[in-house]
């Protein structure tokens, strides 16, 4: 990155204060099927923002596009005013977007703590970080400039070598950041309520605990924006309530902005300050829970004409 440190201006900061996530006419087509149709979405910093809609409305697709799993057909995505569409998935994660999955996707054969540590990946140093210019991007050291000037292939090789050297030799900086990462992850596990389970395999956890672990892993990347895809799906009311409490604490105590896909209306209406409704890939409504509850288009999307249009809407689509 060649940005100079003097760049951020007041205007940028004002924009940052306004929106955490902004999509502009975001469109995603899959061979003929329009999963997202010119969606404009705005999520304010510090919000718990709900994303609802019937099955197949495109909610998960929106998450997939924002996190770089699909490249949008057209439209833009901004995080805190910075374009993130077109970035690679790990770059989007490093930019500050993290997520959980509708169908839990953990690293099943790894320990609980290791799952969280993978989320902490980019916070752990490699050997010669100063040389590689990862941790001090603004240093004007000569060696650093020389490394930056290298063509990309040898530079990538150098990075690889430093990675290996760091792993084998474990210089103090690597050790120290690794230890800090472990401490941080242990705290996150405490936060989500998985203390004492650190060395169990993720696969051996109960369903509810797996959801919690996914939350801890997602939080480990230090996200500015957390995308939660139906975090209470398949839970009984008690479990569900405790996850909702957790989501609130994620926002209140960690200051993470949350965009939440959720089917249970009681949950959405109770926890979200603003709600966006998708139907057939299109945004059909946006507003406070009260506004959404009274919105005719929303009621129609959920209850109305779908049966007349050929049915099948209510059935979950794989």
């Amino acid at each position: 990155m060649a940005t100079s440190p003097a760049e951020p201006t007041l205007r940028d900061e004002a924009a940052t204060a306004m929106t955490r996530l902004r999509t502009r006419s975001l469109t995603m087509r899959f061979e003929g099927l329009v999963a997202l149709d010119a969606v404009d979405l705005e999520v304010r910093p510090g919000a718990i923002h709900g994303l609802i809609g019937p099955n197949g409305a495109g909610k998960t697709t929106l998450f997939n596009v924002v996190t770089g799993y699909h490249r949008p057909t057209s439209g833009t995505i901004e995080l805190d005013g910075r374009r993130i569409d077109g970035l690679l998935r790990h770059e989007i994660a490093e930019a500050g977007v993290s997520r959980t999955f509708q169908n839990i996707r953990l690293f099943g054969a790894m320990n609980v703590i290791e799952n969280v540590l993978v989320g902490r990946h980019s916070k752990i140093a490699v050997a010669g970080v100063e040389l590689a210019g990862r941790m001090r991007p603004h240093s004007d050291h000569r060696a650093l400039a020389a490394v930056r000037a290298l063509p990309s292939a040898p530079r990538a090789m150098l990075h690889g070598l430093l990675e290996v050297a760091g792993a084998i030799a474990q210089p103090p900086r690597v050790r120290q950041t690794e230890r800090a990462a472990i401490e941080h992850c242990a705290e996150l596990l405490q936060f989500v309520g998985l203390v004492g389970r650190e060395h169990e395999l993720a696969n051996n956890l109960s369903y509810g605990d797996q959801r919690r672990l996914e939350l801890a892993r997602a939080l480990a990347t230090d996200p500015a924006l957390l995308l939660l895809d139906e975090p209470t799906a398949g839970m009984n009311p008690a479990e569900s309530a405790s996850v909702v409490r957790l989501v609130r604490r994620i926002r209140d105590e960690l200051g993470v902005t949350v965009l939440l896909i959720e089917h249970a209306m009681s949950v959405v209406m109770g926890v979200c300050e603003r709600i966006t409704v998708l139907d057939y890939g299109r945004k059909i409504a946006e507003g406070t829970p009260a506004e959404i509850q009274g919105n005719a288009a929303v009621i129609e999307a959920y209850l109305g004409t779908s049966a007349a249009q050929g049915g099948g809407r209510a059935a979950p689509r794989a």
Binding site: Y69, H121, G160, I168, R179, V195
Partner: protein
């Protein structure tokens, strides 16, 4: 099509999960002993098990039963241990099914042979074996990256088939780029390792060098696995897409897995060339890839002791079965076994080894998919405050 692929991936993941997971711990007969040992190591802060194994391994040449036949076999086993440690990174950690591992073995052997053999038609440079180590590691990892690049988007079966092709391509290149490799005749009179007048020639010396090399490699590989790089590899194996979503540059780490595996495989080739002082393309067939993969799978994917055990069983045992002592021992069964000469059993079993290996693979897959030595998780030491 996509859904089919995803379904298959999911099933594979579930299977791997089971393989590495619950069944492993519960059914592991030595699990309790291993835990006790680990506790003792924790207390004394000494790698007791490793030191014991190292001492026993180094002392082997002094045992009365160990003669030159044994040492020759142990050296061969050692070469395959090195290869297994390399492939283990690619297949066991990163979950990239590579059926062309022989390519890197050949790369290492030929790099040294071309740079040192007097028969080398080009680039002959009298390169000292010891100095060739960094050269071979570097060349190996570069070749690993080059072969890794085109297979980056491939998964599972597709990856296996393409890498299988790479293995064959390298062998065919060795046969046909005569100006560099001397073709089918191969390269001979490759100098033995020499350092300040000491020539590495005696079998026991070779054996010691291989034991030490294996330990150093195992240590390095263990460190890699316990680092963020190792976790990135395993995360890629478990779910590549999610790993990327958590900030792991999957391209970088897949290439690093190929590079590390290839570098170690190439080192195995360097040992091979220095030990046999002769290389030709017929030593670098698909069979080598299959042998190494079987070692990793039977021993236990991702498990270092598993690699050693796998190499002993697959490479060492068939040789030992052909010893005269084995025949004599087996002939003791003659009185109780009618209609058969039991003294021949060892040789018969050895000549049917590939059938036996095949059956072993099937048995391991069906009964104990985590392998004989299930890989132990690296220990993440928790901070005191939240401690156990």
């Amino acid at each position: 099509m996509r859904e089919l692929q995803e379904g298959a991936d999911r099933r594979l993941r579930a299977w791997r999960g089971r393989a590495a997971g619950g069944a492993a711990l519960a059914a592991q007969p030595w699990h309790a002993a291993r835990e006790r040992l680990r506790a003792a190591e924790e207390r004394t802060r000494l790698p007791i098990a490793n030191v014991l194994v190292l001492v026993v391994a180094l002392s082997l040449p002094f045992w009365p039963v160990i003669d030159s036949r044994w040492l020759r076999i142990l050296v061969l086993v050692g070469i395959f241990v090195v290869l297994g440690l390399g492939l283990n990174i690619v297949v066991g950690y990163a979950g990239l099914l590579d059926l062309g591992f022989v390519a890197f073995f050949a790369t290492g052997a030929y790099t040294y042979a071309i740079l040192s053999s007097p028969a080398s038609p080009a680039l002959q440079a009298d390169l000292n074996w010891w100095l060739a180590i960094p050269v071979v590691l570097a060349v190996g990892s570069v070749v690993g990256v080059l072969l890794g690049l085109p297979v980056l988007p491939l998964r599972g079966d597709y990856l296996a088939i393409v890498t299988l092709g790479f293995g064959e391509i390298v062998r065919i290149l060795l046969l046909n780029v005569v100006g560099l490799t001397n073709g089918a005749q191969g390269l001979f009179n490759i100098p033995r390792p020499e350092f300040a007048g000491w020539v590495l020639e005696a079998l026991d010396h070779w054996y010691w060098v291989l034991v030490l090399a294996s330990f150093i490699l195992a240590f390095a590989v263990g460190r890699m696995r316990a680092s963020r790089m190792g976790r990135a590899w395993e995360a890629i194996r478990e779910d590549e897409d999610v790993a990327a979503g958590m900030g792991v540059n999957t391209v970088k780490y897949k290439l690093l897995a190929f590079a590390m595996g290839a570098a170690i495989g190439a080192f195995g080739g360097l040992v091979f060339a220095g030990f046999f002082t002769f290389v030709n393309p017929s030593s670098f067939t698909l069979l080598v890839s299959i042998n190494v993969l079987s070692i990793v799978v039977i021993g236990g994917m991702g498990s270092t002791p598993g690699v050693v055990l796998g190499a002993l069983i697959l490479i060492g045992l068939p040789e030992v079965l052909q010893f005269d002592e084995t025949s004599r021992l087996l002939s003791l069964f003659n009185p109780i076994v009618p209609f058969a000469d039991t003294s021949l059993w060892g040789r018969q079993l050895a000549s049917a080894r590939f059938i036996v290996f095949g059956l072993m693979l099937v048995a391991v897959m069906a009964l104990r998919p985590q392998g004989i030595f299930a890989a132990a998780r690296p220990q993440v030491r928790l901070p005191r405050a939240s401690g156990r």
